[in-house]
Subunit: 168 residues, 2 copies
């Protein structure tokens, strides 16, 4: 396999993974493209490479910037904007974890806390089932939250070192 083909495969695989995880395919593909580009690219180049429209490219790049995965670059004497991706995998992983935690885990934790407080007839089997599920899920979610918290603060080597040592 040579580079050109390999690059396409990578973009495709990243796009597929993204769409399975609730990130839109194009967004994941643009990210992939920037990841494997040595230089920052213009909107035009992104449009070209992936055959997508201007509107789509613009919107997707903005969203990637919101996620903290891509940055704009300004070049002396040029009006166009260039875009490049953060290349450090650990930083990417943390960034994604951070965003999803904020957007998805936090709201769920809030609801669960409320629901865990709901009082009911302790003889009602449905109340018992409800209460047990909510309480248990709440505990699990809090553990996940704590782990993410740590991961966000940690150095990559320390994080995996610690996790994998425990598991050996």
């Amino acid at each position: 396999m040579e580079l050109t083909e390999a690059r396409l495969k990578f973009i495709e695989a990243w796009g597929k993974l993204g769409s399975e995880w609730g990130i839109n395919r194009t967004m994941a593909q643009v990210h992939a493209l920037l990841l494997i580009s040595a230089e920052a690219l213009t909107t035009e180049q992104v449009m070209e490479s992936l055959s997508i429209s201007r509107g789509n490219a613009n919107m997707t790049l903005r969203e990637l910037i919101n996620w903290g995965l891509v940055e704009k670059q300004h070049r002396q004497g040029e009006r166009k904007e260039y875009f490049f991706a953060e290349k450090d995998t650990w930083t990417i992983a943390r960034q994604v974890a951070k965003e999803r935690r904020k957007r998805e885990l936090d709201p769920v934790l809030k609801v669960l806390d409320e629901l865990a407080k709901v009082k009911g007839d302790s003889k009602d089997p449905d109340y018992k089932a409800f209460n047990k599920s909510v309480t248990d899920i709440n505990k699990l979610a809090k553990n996940v939250d704590k782990t993410l918290e740590t991961m966000l603060k940690a150095e990559e080597s320390w994080f995996w070192g610690s996790i994998l040592k425990v598991f050996k």
Copy 2:
């Protein structure tokens, strides 16, 4: 808040979370409903409670069974089938991790391994960028894979105990 309202909120929250994580909303809602039901339910009851069609209920329940999250129950002298959800949160988490690993992580690891082997001109900056990204992501993915592997084998208390101890 009383139970009826709380149950609806839980179903809604679970459905939303599911759809953000690439699991279809209805599937997550049916799962939520079964989680907070003391008794196993019939297709009819699921249809009723969530106002969904027969086809949808049938298809969704089958899919939940495929994921190993729901089981059928047969009752003496009755023809209908009853459905109930695995209630242990840790088992649910493991089951989901197991399925997603099989369906999504494994294929990506395969592609990455291939792509990491691609040879190219070590003076080409694009080759270098490509190679670095692929190699790094591959390493990260393998770490995630190892962690999941351990999680699948582990007891809940041991797993979180170990992780949280390291992080204190």
